[in-house]
Symmetry: C2
Subunit: 479 residues, 2 copies
């Protein structure tokens, strides 16, 4: 995932009191009928004991593989998921989206000169191109490396020290935040360099920009992701080096000049027609009110896009599968969306909002799962703070799986539903401790083995209980 | 490190009672004089508060870089370490060793066919050539993959299922053993496939053999290391794939045929003259009795050889540096050895033993540090079990750093000193919990950042206290 509007992970914790109450009498009949509460218990049990989400995530990760926007795999995944939804008897629509088609090429780097180097030695540097980067010449470029720790240091050095050089942004992903469970906050800080580093360096005449990986791996894995060129500034090639290589280059450049040979040959091809998959399970009472449950279908290309976001999209489309299995039909329409192109600009999200912006009032709530598949400790929500009072019974249903926190997060809870959130739609996401997600996010280790069978069942439980509970809520939500 | 004679990690724990005793009076004057005990306390403090080993390990890892046998870097490291020892005033000898010169080439793999594949897709597989592997043609080879979990399964399948195929040995490194602190035992089981897999598969007509990485990384890192071709069996190319790729291929091949395109182009060049660095700090009373303190100077080439074994060799040569700094001279000669070519056959160890085998009786003890630089919890020893009674005072000296266990390990404690151990020389090594070592061992993440300043100081403390204590022991050791 990327965050269009950066989410603060330090939102107000709003732990909803989850008082025990008898299953036989709804304590809040004005919110949820007794039948709904009983059904929610069945849904939570089915989600956490079943393997639908797990099996689907495996198919998308291990069988289909990485699903980069514009790729064969992404196109195949669209058809695959649409077929799964048709099998469930849902109303399926493929919503056309023109997506970027950027493809990775050669990506290598070596240090060729440094203080104290053994004669004749070169040193391999692990590098990966950032999404939408232009290429170096196929023979690469060679230049001195200037290491800066942040944008302020770059500005202090200025053109006279930067021109003709390769800039390494050595901004450190905060491992302490990650260890404390707030990987997203650490990512949010570091990702600014990945996104904006190239143009910031090019402004002073740099020939390339490399960034320290904006993630928490300490296993020599480079972290890719989207970058954006600023208008009116020359485009220069840009990539990410690993934590380890960044540390080494910073150390060596403190001893003397460091020269690097860098080759990145990605290509930007013409945009490709692709699709959001939209599948409706029609509501029995208010079919024109929608509760969206979603994840994104595209991924980065270095691994299998398992935790980002096969897990999320599979958990989302497990909701109609579970409801069908239990013979349940929601009062409002549950709309599953497999977003296309979350990773390279959110063109899928934009296309959906463009089509639905006159109909936002009918979007009752939106749920997005895009932070992996570890044990969810509850859910986050955006919108009015007073939404909190609607969730007590849902938290009670989720208590058996340890998902008991409802965290209020004013800035939004997911990028694909962001336009809806900004337009007032109450928005929801599973709430995770982020100690492990960013170790694998956007790097070569985002593979199916990172998904635990029990934990993805819990994610399915959170989104299914939220989706069905909101779809059957007896009142409108404040917005 | 590799283990020539496989060490059982389940040796008899022989926790030496470390009873508190007054520093002012030696409780065991028949073993260690009061002066020796007082000096050992100073040595332990100097080792754990100093940064000599840390700085040296950084220079070898980050400045010199990987030190593959036969490489420029290895040659440079020989001269560098010899110079450091000369600066300390030691008697330095370069002992000639003809070492293998194997160099890595292209190493790529893709799956080109599998059940359920998106049309036109290929899937990248992370692979690394095993040391001494022959090459595929430069255009690679393409063949179906047969997955076996162990040698017995290979034998059951036999020639009719193996001929013309690429065999994947999917033997699982035991993560449970690693989590329990016994990574070396897990490695010892898995490494048999890395070493012998190629010839075992070739016996049945396989065209290549790939092994699941014989290490504990779960971050898409392939684990290199030495392999050996069996005489009289055709040589086939062989590499290691990551844990993740092995899992994926095993999953896909349970669904249907899997085809792989594999390109490995390493080269075996003529052997190169290299050296063990031997540096003696002459004993004041028994200059012809030797206590060896050692680590290995060569490394694998995927990273920086930091924990394997810049850390160990730097901790070893911190011993003479600390003694010189404190103005101490041992009674017996402390002989530092930086072994060459531990990784590709132990030619350095063999050369030393060949020259010294008539003089083994004068080798009082041998210490080797080759299991990284995490917090040592004591030391291991090989030889007569009754050696244990000599170590109580040393354990007491090491207690402030938490290194309080003396583990008896009959099979040997290190590969370079193995020939001496087998010939009766009491042998010693730092004793580590092995929960993390094999996450980085022989893969691309063995970089300097994996070494903690405090912990390598503790390793230095263990080897220095052992070396000086043994060099000043008032009695011979039973052997």
């Amino acid at each position: 995932m990327i965050m269009k509007s950066l989410i603060s992970a330090f939102g107000l914790f709003c732990a909803v009191a989850a008082a025990t109450f008898a299953q036989t009498t709804s304590p809040t009949p004005e919110l949820y009928s007794q039948k709904t509460l009983d059904d929610l218990v069945r849904i939570q049990k089915a989600a956490t004991s079943g393997t639908y989400a797990y099996d689907q995530a495996r198919y998308m990760s291990a069988t289909i593989g990485p699903r980069l926007s514009g790729s064969n795999e992404a196109a195949f995944a669209v058809q695959y998921v649409a077929d799964q939804m048709r099998k469930l008897g849902l109303d399926v629509k493929l919503q056309k989206v023109m997506v970027p088609h950027w493809v990775r090429g050669v990506e290598t780097a070596q240090l060729t000169e440094w203080h104290g180097m053994p004669p004749g030695a070169t040193r391999n540097v692990v590098v990966t191109a950032l999404g939408h980067s232009i290429a170096t010449p196929s023979s690469g470029i060679t230049a001195d490396v200037v290491v800066v720790n942040d944008f302020a240091e770059l500005d202090r050095l200025g053109r006279k020290n930067i021109e003709g050089k390769i800039v390494l942004f050595n901004y450190k992903y905060d491992m302490g935040l990650q260890a404390s469970g707030f990987g997203l906050a650490a990512y949010g800080q570091a990702v600014a360099y990945r996104t904006n580093g190239a143009s910031a360096a090019a402004k002073y005449g740099a020939v390339a920009a490399i960034v320290r990986s904006a993630g928490g791996s300490q296993s020599r894995l480079a972290h890719t992701g989207l970058m954006r060129y600023q208008d009116g500034i020359p485009k220069i090639p840009t990539g990410a080096v690993t934590f380890e290589d960044s540390e080494t280059i910073a150390y060596l450049s403190a001893l003397g000049p460091v020269k690097m040979h860098l080759t990145l040959t990605p290509q930007t091809l013409p945009p490709v027609e692709s699709y959001n998959v939209i599948a409706d399970m029609k509501g029995s009472e208010k079919p024109n009110e929608y509760v969206i449950v979603s994840g994104h279908l595209d991924s980065w290309d270095l691994a299998q896009g398992a935790i980002d976001d096969a897990a999320g999209v599979a958990a989302a489309y497990s909701v109609p599968a579970i409801l069908k299995d239990l013979g349940l039909r929601p009062k409002r329409t549950i709309r599953f969306i497999a977003w296309m192109d979350e990773e390279q600009g959110g063109t899928g999200s934009d296309a959906y909002y463009a089509e639905e912006k006159g109909n936002v009032a009918n979007h009752f709530a939106a749920i997005e799962a895009d932070l992996g598949a570890s044990h969810p400790i509850g859910f986050k929500f955006s919108g009015k703070p007073e939404l909190a009072r609607y969730f007590g019974p849902l938290v009670t249903v989720l208590r058996p799986q340890g998902a008991v926190l409802a965290q209020y997060q004013p800035g939004g809870v997911g990028s694909d539903i962001g336009p809806l959130t900004n337009d007032g739609v109450p928005s929801f996401a599973p709430f995770f401790n982020e100690q492990t997600y960013f170790k694998y996010h956007h790097n070569a280790a985002d593979t199916f083995d990172k998904i635990d069978r029990g934990e993805i069942g819990e994610v399915s439980g959170v989104v299914a209980v939220l989706a069905y509970g909101l779809a059957n809520l007896e009142q409108p939500l404040p917005r």
